[in-house]
Symmetry: C2
Subunit: 158 residues, 2 copies
DNA sequence: CTTTATGCAAAGGGTTTGCAACAAA
DNA sequence: TTTGTTGCAAACCCTTTGCATAAAG
């Protein structure tokens, strides 16, 4: 169930930008923020259709950028073929992701040390230190040592 | 001009893997390592064709993974529509990238502090600390403060 | 000769877009 | 009403792939 505060925030954003609050968009908002899992556009479509079956893929793709603009949803490029969306930035505004390149395992983490260091680096190189996003790619230990891992097996061998 | 050492290394790799050293592959190797700029598959094709006009796009796409396997070339996912390739890992094995999300500016940097911290984090989260790759997204200061920047203007407004 | 590589063109797959019908404000 | 929105299906674009031909070893 999506928090009312989130829904209000988004509807307010839409109102002040001349965007209409349609049934489809409401269904997509509900689907987008009633989970704390990452999801793809396709998965969001499926979930939104459980709320309102009339939602089309095109509308999902057209609505996602709106949600991202509110700052409550973030688009994640996890190095896969598709984009992923992360609804957890409202509760954890500074989290980062570490990704197993082989098995798709993703772990969210916060680290003040890293944040400080990356801000310094960004500033020194002529970048604006705010709004820095970082992703770490690695191999998960289980996969590296045993040659397999739960998640890799579950998602079908690549 | 590609360093002979690099070319030898790659040809050695191919030999020991039963891969044939064709004229096209040699042209692609030459094109791939005679620059220190990042490039896309399409740009590599163009440069390879200056060496041997018979090189086809398919062969470029089929050869790139071989070069990546040698460890001398790295595939970079910079969050754009295409993959980029970085031939500078032979000279700077530990460098990272910081990317301006808006204007495509990319700066390479090395930072021991960051490397150590990210290794610790990776280890704590159950990832293998070696072979960690990291990318930072940010907005370049010039673009943020002036609303435009040289590179953005040069590459056509998005 | 045997086996791998090549070029071509078509296929793939996530995402975007043109358009006529619709519906919020 | 007016103007933004929707669903559909086609278009996009980078990348991959099937196939008959070519050439490395």
């Amino acid at each position: 169930m999506t928090e009312p505060a989130i829904k209000e925030k988004i509807i307010g954003f839409m109102a002040s930008n001349g965007l209409r609050v349609t049934a489809q968009r409401q269904a997509i908002i509900e689907a987008a923020f009633s989970t704390d899992e990452h999801y793809t556009a396709e998965e969001l479509l499926e979930r939104a259709r459980q709320v309102d079956p009339s939602v089309s893929r095109a509308t999902v793709y057209r609505t996602l950028p709106v949600l991202v603009q509110t700052g409550l949803l973030r688009e994640l490029d996890l190095g896969k073929d598709q984009m992923y969306y992360d609804p957890n930035y409202a509760s954890h505004p500074n989290h980062n992701h570490i990704i197993c390149v082989d098995c798709d395992k993703i772990v969210e983490f916060e680290d003040y040390c890293l944040d400080v260091r990356e801000s310094v680096i960004a500033k020194n190189l002529g970048f604006r230190p705010g709004a820095v996003r970082l992703r770490i790619e690695a191999t998960c230990e289980q996969l590296a040592s045993t040659g397999t891992c739960a998640r890799r097996d579950a998602s079908g061998v690549k």
